[in-house]
Symmetry: C2
Subunit: 213 residues, 2 copies
């Protein structure tokens, strides 16, 4: 069996999709190297020929691991779960797994894509805040059902890896979180864990000094 | 072990996310009942109190199965895969599974959300076509890498269940498919299979007579 070098994560400190993967790597105690891809500098480093050869979707995160490169945060997390199962990020019962995947998908395909950098650019500066807020509120409302049962569902799951970065985005887009007490409570509990702290946008190799904490 | 009634799929004939699940059910020979949710009629039947109690995200598809209700197409397909593994829609090798999930995620979180009905409404009638075309082209371009290797990857996979409905949407939004010969070829091969035909929007219980084929 070939020995592969340390995994490399292509990441942007502020990308919520990158943060999801950073939490998974931290929880599973996987050592890795970060190669920062600045989505704004030089017109977006994700558009460089070098990076496109790695991920033709021109998006972060991408993870080089075990001799392959995987893009898309959930595909990466599911791969880590299948190859490094400790600690588990998905329950063992298929019904509970379905619930975790459902919450994850609501965030990754229902909310986040609508407040992606490339979409916000198209929407235009003056409409960005309203647009992003609408997407987040609509998703958070809908989540009340699965999230109400969430705390008893499973300890820390893939859904949490999606939730925390999404809440941070909600705060960035000035969404009032008062109507979502369950989400706020879960977020607070999770943010007390080390894996969520070391992976935080304010503590990455590419975090600008003025945003460090 | 309790005996559950026949699964119920809440579906809209034209919804590409519903179509993904219909293909999975057909491939796995799972009998089910369809309850049509018309996303346009009555201001959108997905907004009814009755349906919201089932899926607070107010979206189709939702599948009632084994005593639970699952929303989000990929969560549903992964559940079917875990509980009804024949025929497999995911390869057994984790690296190949990652590739299938990556292609699936590119479509379900990179392309489709941007041409969702609710988003197109916000974008406005006059901009819809350009907006949707841009999202589809950008995704199809990026896919060239995984899709080039796709035919040798695995027989019929979850990625195919995402691809075929997305190609149909591309045609609906008048995207010229000439630049994507691999996608067109895979799509044509798949559309020859019965499971892709019986699940097609033109053959559903709620397909209007003038759109039947």
């Amino acid at each position: 069996y070939p020995v592969f070098p340390q995994p490399i994560l292509y990441s942007y400190f502020r990308s919520s999709c990158s943060w999801r993967v950073r939490i998974a790597l931290a929880l599973k105690s996987i050592d890795y190297e970060t190669i920062p891809i600045n989505l704004i500098k030089d017109g977006g480093q994700q558009f460089s020929e070098e990076f496109q050869a790695l991920n033709p979707m021109k998006q972060v995160p991408a993870l080089k691991i075990d001799g392959i490169t995987i893009a898309q945060s959930l595909a990466i997390i599911e791969y880590l779960e299948e190859t490094r199962p400790t600690p588990r990020l998905l329950p063992q019962d298929p019904k509970k797994r379905a619930q975790v995947r459902m919450i994850s998908d609501v965030i990754t395909s229902g909310i986040q894509p609508l407040q992606n950098l490339s979409v916000l650019k198209q929407v235009g500066q003056e409409n960005q805040l309203t647009w992003a807020q609408k997407a987040i509120r609509s998703g958070f409302n809908g989540e009340s059902f699965p999230l109400q049962t969430h705390p008893t569902l499973f300890q820390v799951s893939m859904a949490d890896l999606c939730l925390v970065p999404q809440v941070a985005n909600a705060e960035r887009f000035k969404v009032d979180l008062t109507p979502y007490p369950t989400i706020s409570r879960i977020n607070k509990t999770l943010m007390a864990l080390e894996a969520f702290q070391v992976s935080h946008p304010c503590r990455q190799p590419d975090t600008p000094p003025e945003l460090r904490a």
